[in-house]
Amino acid sequence: MINSTSINKLKTGVPLFIIFLLFGCSNPYKNLTKTEFSAKNITEIPYSLPQSEKTLIYKTSIDFYQRNISGLLIIKKTEKQNYRIALTTQFGLKIFDFALKEGNFEVVYCIEYLNKKSIISTFEDDFKLLLMQNKFEQIYTFQKDKQKYKGWILQSGKINYYYFLNTDNNHIEKIEQWKRNAKKISVVLYDYNNNLPLNIQLEHHNIKLKMNLKRIQ
């Protein structure tokens, strides 16, 4: 019933921009030839950031609607697949402190003005994606751009997490999170030094949130 109504609407003339929107949102990776990644183990993916044992400190600026939050983001792998992610102001005061334990997100501390369910779950999405800690059902691999990029897709229901490896330098340079045919989050990582990115830019496509990270340690 719903389908036939939709078709009728289409026939009676849908504004062009809706069609554009539909095409605009379609997932460009949909028709890639992908093969199942037999390992089913994310540590097989050559993404160095989540595997580093070092204390990573990024000078961070977060633009969140009209707000700007800046400070130092500290990422520390405390155990295998356990992480702490904390943001402090330049003056040292903690803004948030999150724990990720085998894909489970925990708020250790969050300053009152950010301690809202929607904000916290946004940060949860961001850091799980960045540290490749989302739960998934299946991993696929694919090739793109005449073999320049090799990719991994972590699939969980309607959500796909893409990790793109530049085969020239063997670094993960792009990460994307898609839900059905809509891109939700994209991350670019560049200027790798000692196998770790000096710059990371994370952007949401459905909300106004941008994160800019520059590594200082």
Binding site: I74, K76, A86, T89, Q90, L93, K94, D97, I111
Partner: protein
């Protein structure tokens, strides 16, 4: 009011670093006399120039995060606080505004209107400027001493502040009434400690130091 604002600056006198320790401190007997001592010195201070070392302790890290920089103060209430290592970040406080230079981006805030921002940063600057120290509405202040130092323990009263900080401890060298260090402890017991070194008093500081564009 100016006296109040610059009270703490009087503590930033010369001498090197004496490691702050909370051992063997007992309560100050004559608080009023101590306060009067500090305020008397304040009147003689027109400028302060100093270096600082900041240590951030997070329970999940084995090593503290160290940052360094410099600050300038000029009576009445002009403050330049600049991080130089391991990142650059400059914040300037004037009587009505806060200016920030983060790499090439300059932003400014009205101290009255930007509540959240002020709340976080006022803890830091307020400690230095002395308005937190004298703010009996927002803090309970306890005075301790040993042979070498005074220790002022500030406990926040307001709920909003309490959720961020459990205490601010200010260590003052008795020989010259200079602040040796400040320790801000969060509710989680993580802390930030700032040590002031190479303090120079009443030197000439150009007004350009408090101009974000220069």
């Amino acid at each position: 009011m100016n006296k109040i604002i610059i009270t703490l600056f009087s503590f930033f006198l010369f001498l090197g670093v004496i490691k702050a320790q909370e051992e063997n401190f007992s309560k100050v007997f004559d608080i009023e006399k101590t306060k009067a001592n500090l305020e008397q010195l304040t009147e003689e201070i027109s400028t302060i120039k100093s270096q600082f070392i900041q240590e951030k302790h997070l329970s999940f890290l084995t090593e503290n995060i160290i940052s360094k920089g410099e600050f300038y103060f000029k009576n009445p209430g002009f403050l330049r606080w600049k991080y130089t290592e391991p990142f650059e970040y400059l914040i300037i406080f004037t009587d009505k505004n806060i200016f920030i230079k983060d790499e090439e981006n300059i932003s400014s805030f009205d101290t009255e209107s930007n509540k959240m921002f002020s709340e976080i940063n006022n803890i830091m600057t307020g400690t230095i400027q002395g308005n937190i120290f004298n703010d009996s509405e927002r803090f309970t202040v306890e005075y301790f001493e040993n042979n070498q130092q005074y220790l002022l323990k500030l406990i926040p009263k307001m709920q909003e502040m309490k959720s961020m900080l459990q205490s601010i401890h200010i260590f003052i060298d008795k020989s010259d009434l200079s602040v040796v260090s400040i320790k801000m402890t969060e509710s989680s017991n993580d802390y930030t400690s700032i040590t002031f070194i190479d303090r120079k008093l009443n030197t000439t500081i150009d007004n350009d130091k408090f101009n974000i564009h220069k």
